[in-house]
Amino acid sequence: LAKTTQPISMDSYEGQEVNITCSHNNIATNDYITWYQQFPSQGPRFIIQGYKTKVTNEVASLFIPADRKSSTLSLPRVSLSDTAVYYCLVGGRPSGAGNMLTFGGGTRLMVKP
């Protein structure tokens, strides 16, 4: 399973765009990149998943360069409620036993008024 490296923490202000970059130099060919958000006293919540190039949904965008050794989660116009820990995970879609999620340290995002 590929190891991921993220900044430990980031600060931002309401209305700004936040970009969190994750390094995963040992990503395998069949690995997907997935980001999760976790609020205190809650389990992680799926944000977005991608394999290459760019993926966008209603809450975020995920940018993946051609070499796939890194990825960037982009949160447009953050609000105070986006204050949370964001985890980048790398792994294949499960096709049987043994393909589970390995969590790195995560990035603690603090959005200020």
Partner: protein, 115 residues
């Protein structure tokens, strides 16, 4: 996406006793997982629980300490046995829906304090 109901949400237990945590998924899932999370820390995988087979434990976790049941495709339990204060943590279950593209779903966690 699937919804997981996890209970209890929290408990305070005496050392030497056992606690069973339950997770109910609102749809059938092949794979379920159990994690432990110390406050302010990341998640550590305890084991993978597939219906119809023995759970697979990660390094540092053993079946005698953390027995897991997976009686059907919507339910799983994790028991923390013979507890000590070092077992105080948040325990979370997770599942990957067999269909859909929204990744893994997590329960809200069980905050366990052993005194």
């Amino acid at each position: 996406s699937a919804v997981i109901s996890q209970k209890p949400s929290r408990d305070i237990c005496q050392r030497g006793t056992s606690l069973t945590i339950q997770c109910q998924v609102d749809s059938q899932v092949t794979m379920m997982f159990w994690y432990r999370q110390q406050p302010g820390q990341s998640l550590t995988l305890i084991a993978t629980a597939n219906q119809g087979s023995e759970a697979t434990y990660e390094s540092g976790f053993v079946i005698d300490k953390f027995p897991i049941s997976r009686p059907n495709l919507t339910f799983s339990t994790l028991t923390v046995s013979n507890m000590s204060p070092e077992d105080s943590s948040i325990y979370l279950c997770s599942a990957l829906p067999d269909r859909g593209r929204d990744g893994y779903t997590f329960g809200s966690g069980t905050r366990l304090t052993v005194v």
